[in-house]
């Protein structure tokens, strides 16, 4: 991981992919036999940050293991809708943190801090 900007950039990418997975799960909430997808980047990012000499983080796609309904579909619309809201706020937070970081760099370089 290459500094704070690198970590935030990776997080933004990860959250965006989570959002895609959530949108896709909702789009397939009526598809018979469809298994929901779950995207994880937090575990790997945490490990990369914790490792002493800068590890590499990765984004993985995992099947959602919750029990399917009679048509073989295991998408829970309400959970997915909550996830969608949460991911949007998370994304906005990451973007805001990146912007703060850029303002700090700009100020340190003799420009404006605001």
């Amino acid at each position: 991981m290459d500094g704070i900007v690198g970590v935030l950039q990776f997080a933004a990418d990860g959250v965006s992919q989570q959002q895609q997975a959530t949108a896709n799960n909702l789009a397939n909430s009526e598809t018979p036999g469809y298994g929901a997808q779950d995207v994880d980047f937090e575990t790997s990012l945490q490990q990369a940050i914790d490792s002493q000499n800068g590890g590499t983080a990765s984004i993985t796609v995992n099947p959602d293991t919750s029990a399917p309904a009679s048509n073989g579909n295991n998408v829970d619309t309400s959970t997915q809708l909550v996830d969608a809201e949460e991911e949007t706020l998370q994304y906005q937070t990451v973007v805001e943190m990146l912007n703060s970081q850029f303002r700090l760099i700009s100020g340190a370089a003799g420009g404006s801090f605001s």
């Binding site: 895609q20 949108a23 909702l26 789009a27 397939n28 909430s29 009526e30």
Partner: protein
């Protein structure tokens, strides 16, 4: 995935729900059709949903691959006053279940709303990305 691709994912869900609503409207509109007993009648239409996804990758939405047509044999009813009735006074009517269609309609509407909500969320996230560095 294209630029702002998450919008397309929710968009595919919205159009799938719309297609479902359209078939339901068609089914209800045709539930009182009358045909002679020697002809096929209207078969209940149901869309077939298939996910757009490659193995091990995040899916890219849903596609309606076809519209399945239900049983066209329908129900033979006695209606001697109908000009289409056969010698026994029977006509053929579609086997459209109004209750099922109404429940499906609520479901399709909820799906539409859920996809529209996810579309709004994706738009908000992309809009915040556009503020980067400003």
């Amino acid at each position: 995935m294209t630029l702002f691709g998450n919008l397309d994912v929710s968009g595919s869900g919205i159009s799938a729900s719309q297609t479902w609503l359209n078939t339901i409207a068609g089914n209800i509109a045709n539930m009182d059709d009358v045909t002679p007993t020697d002809e096929a009648t209207y078969g209940t239409q149901t869309p077939v949903f298939v996910p757009d996804s490659a193995f091990g990758q995040i899916g890219e939405g849903v596609t309606v691959t076809s519209i399945e047509e239900g049983d066209t044999a329908g129900i033979v009813e006695s209606d001697p006053s109908s000009p289409l009735a056969d010698a026994q006074g029977d006509v053929r009517v579609p086997d459209v279940q109004l209750g099922t269609q109404m429940v499906d309609m609520i479901q399709a509407q909820t799906d539409y709303q859920a996809n529209a909500a996810a579309l709004g969320d994706a738009k908000n996230a992309y809009q915040s990305a556009l503020t980067l560095g400003t």
